[in-house]
């Protein structure tokens, strides 16, 4: 029958009559690859396995084992119907059965007797319509993502300037942002009194990055003083909240933008206390905007759990205890409840850190768009990606080998935990070539050799390996690093995936 061709689209024909299947594939076979199923259950099994590669389903209604409605129900519950159009082969053209089919997501009907031209046209049109819509959704998602990424980037750069002067890493801003969002999500679960939407959460999270911009006006010798500040110095330090607020207030444009309004509140009032003993205005209780209350708590928590010139990092438990005991300020009891209830989410987020922000970003946008009915795509791709990640990390956790992914630009290394107990959780390392842990792990020469071999691979021969020594649990081991370089469609080098195999302790 039809030759299998990589570039041709696949049509799944589901009909219990072989005659009918043959007839339909005869009509379509020149232009499509045909897969056949002789009842609904078979069709569902095929879809489960290769839904991604199927462009269209031609579906009969009356069939043994599982009928056409059963297939539609399965396609709905698995969200396949969002990406794979269905043309129903209707025999009895009763209005009620057609309505039911439309309700279940059917795009078109073909009635018996089949007319070759009509069948072909309906199939071509339906596939094209879906393909066009998918392309559009993907374009919109790309554009929103780019815009979103740029604006996050600008805010990050801006807030990094403040921290840079402060001798901090830039992690504080990201941590406060993450904590702010986590606490807000918990808050909306507990109460609806603040009337916070998902969009508000994202906005407050972004604005939180600006909470300390006023510090730009604080002289170096005070900002970076390792010891305790004098009263006079502390008075100067305290001006940063008002200075930050007036910097925002003096913006010529954008004053009415929600982001700017929220940033103003956060800058000005993130050092207020719930008991009224904070600064600069001594606001009390709910007079302090909720956004500023939340950022204040996130700020304190992150300061406690991070290392500073003048202090070591406290554990999550210790920090929680100190905050709840009122040692670090006075907070809204509702927010303290949020902090306690978010413990798991906070710990999890802190481990995964920054890199995931950008990786996960695009999927979120694609999923958000999918929620609009007239632009509906499911997160099929996102689901599959998530599934692949889960699979990788599971298999890796069972194996004695350590699996990794390396992205060349911007350089990032992901290490998956394995059975050896070396790594307890998935770890992301930014700029791995300059990372102390990686330098400790293996010599710069070996690393350079591995990278140069990777650079010499081609899309046709992507695999390379190197045997070298590496430090595992404090001892030098012989290891074999096997990598496969990864290339994009334009044959540009993207990075590599690979594994590190432990060949035993060095005897020398």
């Amino acid at each position: 029958m039809s030759k299998h061709n990589k570039d041709r689209q696949k049509v799944l024909i589901v009909d219990d009559s072989k005659m009918n299947r043959d007839l339909l594939s005869e009509m379509l076979g020149d232009e499509y690859d045909i897969i056949e199923a002789e009842n609904g259950a078979e069709a569902v099994a095929i879809l489960r396995k290769e839904v991604v590669s199927i462009s269209l389903v031609l579906l009969d209604i009356v069939m043994p084992v599982m009928d056409g409605y059963g297939v539609l129900a399965a396609m709905n519950s698995n969200h396949w119907i969002d990406d794979v159009p269905v043309i129903m082969i209707s025999s009895d053209n009763s209005v009620s059965s057609m309505r039911r089919a439309y309700d279940m997501g059917v795009t078109e009907f073909i009635s018996r007797p089949f007319d070759a031209l009509i069948v072909r046209h309906r199939v071509v049109n339906t596939i094209m319509l879906y393909a066009k819509q998918k392309r559009l959704v993907s374009m919109v998602a790309d554009q929103i993502y780019e815009k979103e990424k740029d604006s996050r980037l600008m805010i990050d750069v801006l807030s990094h300037i403040v921290e840079f002067r402060n001798g901090e890493s830039g992690m504080h801003v990201l941590n406060v942002q993450m904590l702010t969002e986590v606490l807000l999500r918990q808050l909306v679960l507990i109460t609806d009194k603040y009337n916070i939407s998902e969009a508000d959460i994202s906005l407050i999270g972004k604005a939180s990055a600006l909470h300390d911009i006023g510090k730009i006006s604080i002289p170096d010798h005070i900002l970076n003083k390792p010891g305790r500040l004098t009263d006079e110095e502390f008075q100067i330090m305290k001006t940063h909240s008002l200075v930050g607020a007036s910097m925002i207030d003096q913006l010529t444009y954008y004053k009415d933008e929600p982001l700017v309004k929220i940033a103003y509140k956060i800058c000005r009032w993130h050092h207020e206390r719930y008991d009224g003993r904070g600064y600069p205005d001594g606001l009390k209780g709910e007079d302090i905007p909720i956004s500023a209350q939340i950022v204040a708590l996130a700020d304190v928590y992150d300061a406690l759990t991070s290392e500073r010139v003048y202090k070591r990092a406290f554990s999550h438990e210790k920090a929680l205890e100190m905050i709840l005991n009122g040692e670090c300020g006075a907070f809204n009891p509702l927010l303290l409840e949020c902090l306690q209830k978010s413990s798991d989410a906070i710990l999890k987020n802190r481990k995964e850190k920054k890199a995931d922000l950008y990786i996960v970003g695009r999927e979120h946008i694609a999923l958000d768009i999918a929620q609009y009915d007239d632009l509906s795509v499911s997160g099929k791709t996102a689901d599959l990606l998530e599934y692949e990640r889960m699979k990788n990390s599971f298999f890796s956790s069972l194996s004695d080998e350590m699996h990794f992914e390396y992205i060349a630009s911007p350089a990032m290394l992901t290490l998956y935990p394995n059975n050896s107990g070396l790594l307890a959780e998935k770890t992301l390392i930014n700029d791995p070539l300059n990372d102390d842990n990686i330098r400790e792990f293996t010599s710069a020469d070996d690393l350079a050799e591995l990278l140069s071999r990777l650079r010499k691979t081609t899309p046709e021969e992507p695999v390379t390996e190197i045997s070298c020594q590496a430090k595992l649990k404090g001892e030098y081991h012989n290891v074999r690093i096997v990598c496969r370089s990864v290339w994009n469609k334009e044959s540009e080098y993207m990075g590599a995936v690979g594994k590190i195999v432990d060949c035993g302790v060095c005897t020398a």
Binding site: D16, S17, K18, M19, N20, D22, L23, E26, V62, M63, P64, S91, R112, P113, F114, D115, A116, L117
Partner: protein, 115 residues
């Protein structure tokens, strides 16, 4: 016997099927395939064993195939038995069975004479 004569003998719609499937070669090919289609035999077995739900599906399938091939006479009798079975009227279905069988035999014998 030509294809046109065959359709006349089995009470079918030659013009209609030619319009829909477009070439004589294709119609010829699928008319011959009808001899391998098991739905009539299955229907007969199911009726005899009083498996009426299965019988309904087989009759329904045969009706669909006949419609596609333009076998009007057999389509009409298989439609009648399909509707009887859909409505659960098994006595009427049993009554219709000899007519369906006669139409089926006539259709098959016409196809077998096809050159």
């Amino acid at each position: 016997m030509t294809l046109r004569e065959c359709y006349a003998a089995l009470g079918g719609d030659y013009e209609g099927v030619m319009t829909r499937l477009m070439t004589e070669k294709l119609v010829h090919k699928f008319v011959l395939k009808f001899l391998d289609d098991g739905s009539f035999q299955n229907l007969k077995n199911d009726m005899a064993a009083e498996r009426y739900e299965d019988a309904f599906r087989e009759a329904h399938t045969m009706k669909g195939v006949c419609l596609n091939l333009g076998f009007t006479r057999l389509f009409e009798s298989s439609s009648e038995i399909t509707e009887a079975l859909r409505g659960g009227n098994t006595a009427k279905a049993a009554e219709l069975m000899p007519l369906v069988e006669a139409d089926y035999m006539q259709t098959v014998s016409a196809i077998k004479q096809l050159g």
